[in-house]
């Protein structure tokens, strides 16, 4: 018979479940940022021309440069958002963290000049006993909408706290 595991869930975490906690806007996406992302993820090979050659990109179904689907439009802010290290971080003092997984659903592509509106929330969690002991798997959802109101991306990040 299993013994009841110690719950890691705090009242602070419970209060955040399902609540949209963060809304912010990106800087306009630059062609340079797209090119540098593509170079980094293909290093040391040249990335596909779609991400850096406007003339080539005009001949594609996109009609111009787009960003790789997994591109990050929220980098290098002057003022750091504490939630960047996890919406749950300050609600779970003393727990260690590991990346558990990432799941993206994609809508419209990101293009140079686009401004992305992001909102994020803790969608859900479950606690299981693992080799790390009592372990929380926290699923945070992030939605990206462009300036035309189109869904760009819905991301579910699983972070592991133990």
């Amino acid at each position: 018979m299993a013994t009841e595991a110690r719950s890691l869930v705090t009242p602070e975490l419970e209060a955040r479940r399902g609540v949209w906690l963060r809304e912010r806007h990106s800087e306009p996406i630059s062609a340079s940022a797209i090119r540098r992302w593509a170079i980094a993820v293909y290093w040391p090979d040249a990335p596909p021309r779609l991400y850096w050659d406007e003339e080539h990109a005009r001949g594609t179904r996109f009609g111009g440069i787009v960003a790789p689907a997994e591109f990050n439009a929220f980098t290098w802010p002057v003022e750091r958002d504490p939630a960047d290290s996890g919406l749950e971080t300050d609600a779970l003092p003393g727990l260690r963290s590991m990346a558990g997984g990432t799941r993206d659903r994609y809508g419209e592509p990101m293009r140079p000049g686009d401004v992305i509106r992001e909102r994020a929330r803790i969608a859900d969690w479950e606690q299981r006993d693992t080799r790390l002991g009592p372990t929380l798997f926290i699923h945070s959802e992030t939605e990206w909408i462009n300036q035309r109101g189109e869904l760009v991306r819905s991301r579910l990040i699983t972070s592991i706290r133990y």
């Binding site: 940022a33 540098r36 992302w37 170079i39 980094a40 993820v41 293909y42 290093w43 040391p44 090979d45 040249a46 990335p47 596909p48 021309r49 779609l50 991400y51 594609t60 179904r61 996109f62 790789p68 689907a69 997994e70 990050n72 929220f74 980098t75 290098w76 260690r96 590991m98 990346a99 558990g100 997984g101 990432t102 799941r103 993206d104 659903r105 994609y106 579910l156 699983t158």
Partner: protein
């Protein structure tokens, strides 16, 4: 067909839905990884966690081999696999992965994939895939599932209308 490891677009030979069958294996996309890759990715993803940059910090976090790679870079590598397979214009609808094992310095990561299903839904021609990133020991580090929409010889998928 472009060199499978170069990530070159396959515009000259678009992959059609009708060319794909359950059980098809994707050409492997591979990378030897280390700090030169991680530092570049840290710069573009603004991801400067010490465990990815500093051996001492990573050892203190119980990884005796020192600094280790970012999960999100492997997530990008899985996208690279799909782009190398179906071309730079591939319409990835969904990609989800679990980070099962650490990417150590010097690892040779091989991204692989297999078609697990096909379906037509609302006019979209969708292909389901099982993916993974394995290290040089053959260990699964990043099992994943993806859904992509491919053009059909009988009609175009979303984005082309």
């Amino acid at each position: 067909m472009a060199d499978e490891d170069r990530g070159e677009p396959l515009d000259s030979a678009p992959l059609y839905f009708e060319d794909v069958a359950v059980g098809d294996e994707l050409p492997t996309w591979s990378r030897e990884t280390g700090l030169v890759h991680w530092n570049r990715f840290a710069a573009v993803n603004d991801e400067f966690y010490d465990v990815h940059m500093d051996d001492g910090a990573a050892r203190a976090a119980e990884n005796p081999q020192g600094a280790f790679g970012m999960g999100m870079l492997r997530f990008s590598y899985l996208h690279n696999l799909l782009r190398a397979w179906a071309g730079e214009q591939v319409d990835v609808r969904e990609l989800g992965c679990r980070y099962r094992a650490v990417n150590q310095k010097g690892d040779v990561l091989s991204c692989s994939g297999r078609v697990s299903g096909t379906r037509v839904e609302g006019g979209d021609h969708l292909v389901e895939l099982e993916l993974d990133v394995r290290n040089q020991l053959g260990e699964s580090t990043t099992p994943a599932q993806a859904v992509v929409a491919l053009p059909s010889r009988g009609g175009e998928a979303r984005g082309a209308d």
